[in-house]
Symmetry: D2
Subunit: 265 residues, 4 copies
């Protein structure tokens, strides 16, 4: 389907502050960006770079006063997300080099602490896709998806204890569980058509059977209509915006996803 | 200034053929892409990737029949291009690692054959910027810029003998001369406002005094208003389109550059 | 000085298990590797790769039985480590792209939780080197360096509460504090001549005034004689060995550093 | 087999001159480096880096006088080189991103000029491995391998006309022919056991059926016992030594390859 996604951010800046933003759709995967806009008011110098995961980052210093970022994109994405029950676990020695970082514990995914739980939860499951599906199901049934409950400092161990969280929290828990049984897993940040309530979304992918598969523990059913912005080890790598110091107060964030239909012609 | 650039390509495809395209403006330098469109008719699956120079490439198989690529971008660029007479030559041991490939001879820039000429032409010049300025001046005065005279197989040695060429040919000669005296040089492909006749353009950059400086031997005066698409060792790296096999006939290519004024607000 | 470093690891392998090892000295910095050996008994197939930080990793499957890794290197290193009191803080917008990952929180360095403490500890210090020196001094005086007290699951917040740790713990605390005030910091794993007791060592580097400077909160005095193996965001990135699954028991690890004198001729 | 390879270079340096060297065995492929030495006399500061192909480069300034480089390595390599008649041509759209540069023409491999010849020579051959085997056979039968006939400025078109060349020349011709029919090909520089006369050697690899296969048009029979130093688009990328300016005269180059037997225990 062809989606029109929009993310508009308004900041009140008390003192000039450095920001790193990730607001462009990701290039190089199965989504085709037909049109993209990115307006910054007031206009300031921007340094754009690509990180080691392939994400586009925009660095700038926001000046005092109102600071506005308007971004939109028209993107052709898949209507359906691939699933592959039975896809096999890839032994460590056969993983592609660029997948290895996604095996390691990270800020919000202390996979070194989840081995026992993950083995219990996946007991009897076929190594690979079915294990991950087990883990995602378990999260769906045991950790409440509570939009708005966010505390950006919480990690997978804390979410596990608390029993509820936002989309990134559930993704973190899924990632930590996967990695603890040697399945590479990464966070995905992007847009999801029909998400309720509409917001930026996060889910995760696991590397199985030679490719990445998506899992979304916040949804019953793996819906298509996803525009991906960034991949990372966890949310620390993929903030939509990250301020260095103080001085930027987000006064409004509007996210929209509109279905423009199936044809691009 | 704020430029609206357009490049529309029409192909007649006799047999399905693989194409690699470079049609998106470069990200990560001093140009800010406010808006970008990229339409492919008929729509086909595209694999997008970033090469080792940071250029975006689009790979696809063009189906039989008419095949159309419409691209445009609105980009904020500098009105003036930095020059720096006197900027010093950087000794090999102090060059950043990612600059080293631009020291080596390449398909169209046989720098291993131009050492004597380059030393003659730059005799007495201060090592660095002034040498490159000498070389660009010499090309401007001795190699005729003849739009339309293109033969894509010609390299710097052949252009030197022939005495005329298109923009890429003059850039190749400049690059070969620079590298032959150990100054890293690279080709730049992009749009130039007010280019006569309007077309895709190519010029070159040399690494001097710790940064890249632009030189354009086709123009008297280093005009601003440039939207960069790609960097490379020479034209072999940065074809706007490259077909693998036969079957694609370019029936029309329209390039436009419009100045939208200085304000983006 | 010219150092001969040795690290020999003996494992008892109950079941074949995948290992990722980092046991080669780092290439590409101010240490010159004259000689290097790496013997694996029994010989098995090894996949060697370079991670995004430039570290060499060796991946293999250790077979059942005794499994031995003998590594050594003769390396010319600096006698003294550069210090630069007064070196200035680099604003975010001027940091090189490849330094940006070292600003982010990571598994063992929850820099998002240390802002208040770091600002208190560095109150009045000149932004940059002097701030980091303050932080390293504070760790040296307030967190006991206790070799052998290791628990690999502890992160900077836990070490801060516990008040003692091994070298990697103190490094993690230093890194978390630096990043919390927007100074990029990374862990370094390697050998240190005359370390008491001898073992693999870890310290940290902070990016200040346009380059990386070393800090070692475990030592009074910043001694030279360091052979670097790997850099990373924290210890999660740079395990000397990492097993995936169970089955490998480290039965012996011998680390030696010998000074072969100043001349290599 | 386990090979001991040695390359000793002696230069007479009239004026200090920058050199870039490639003298370390390649890491990350099917060869395991047990031991490696690299001695420089007199000792000078060296900057080591990895290029975009994964090769290790050593940059230094050679001081006036005699300048000596002694390198050796003990490496476990395959006794036999994989061949795969029938392996299929990989369509452009399915090539891995990092293989794409090897499709393009380069300094010594003007593949844009060999399409007609390559199609003639491979008429009737199964697309893929068999085409490359045809091309290598044709070179073997039609271009004389003449060690010592080197002129480093000659490219594939010139070798084709001349009808004889050194190993790198034959490799260049093979590469140009492969690329002209859309088969990625790259040069390999390294050691070959039992090469007559002993010297550094060059051959080529083609990407077919999802992996790289070696071809050596200088030899009747594809012998094992190869220690690889570097990969590149052609010899411009992989000089064992490259001087920038004048002043370095190679007075002696000794290459040795010794078989230490099949066991490493």
């Amino acid at each position: 389907m062809r989606l029109l996604v929009t993310c508009n951010l308004c900041f009140q800046i008390d003192n000039p502050v450095a920001l790193i933003l990730m607001l462009r759709p990701f290039r190089g995967i199965q989504q085709w960006i037909i049109r993209e806009t990115y307006t910054i008011k007031p206009a300031v110098a921007v340094t754009e770079s690509t990180d080691s995961y392939g994400n586009s980052c925009q660095r700038l210093v926001a000046p005092q006063g109102d600071f506005l970022l308007y971004t939109s994109a028209e993107v052709i994405v898949n209507d359906f997300i691939d699933t592959m029950p039975g896809a096999h676990f890839v032994e460590i020695q056969y993983l592609p080099n660029d997948v290895l970082p996604y095996l390691l514990p990270s800020r919000y995914c202390e996979s070194d602490r989840f081995g026992e739980l993950a083995r219990d939860l996946t007991a009897g499951a076929l190594p690979g896709y079915d294990q991950v599906a087990c883990l995602a199901d378990w999260i769906r049934q045991n950790v409440q998806y509570l939009p708005g409950s966010s505390d950006v400092h919480l990690s997978a161990t804390e979410i596990y204890q608390r029993g509820f969280g936002v989309c990134r929290d559930l993704a973190h828990l899924g990632i930590a569980l996967c990695r603890s049984i040697s399945i590479p897993a990464r966070i995905v940040v992007g847009y999801l058509h029909n998400l309720q309530p509409m917001d930026m979304h996060a889910w995760f992918e696991a590397y199985i059977g030679g490719q990445w598969y998506a899992f979304d523990p916040t949804q019953y059913g793996l819906y298509g209509g996803r525009v991906i912005i960034a991949f990372g080890r966890d949310a620390a790598d993929v903030s939509v915006f990250h301020q260095f110091g103080f001085g930027a107060i987000l006064t409004s964030m509007v996210v929209r996803v509109e279905n423009l239909g199936n044809s691009m012609n």
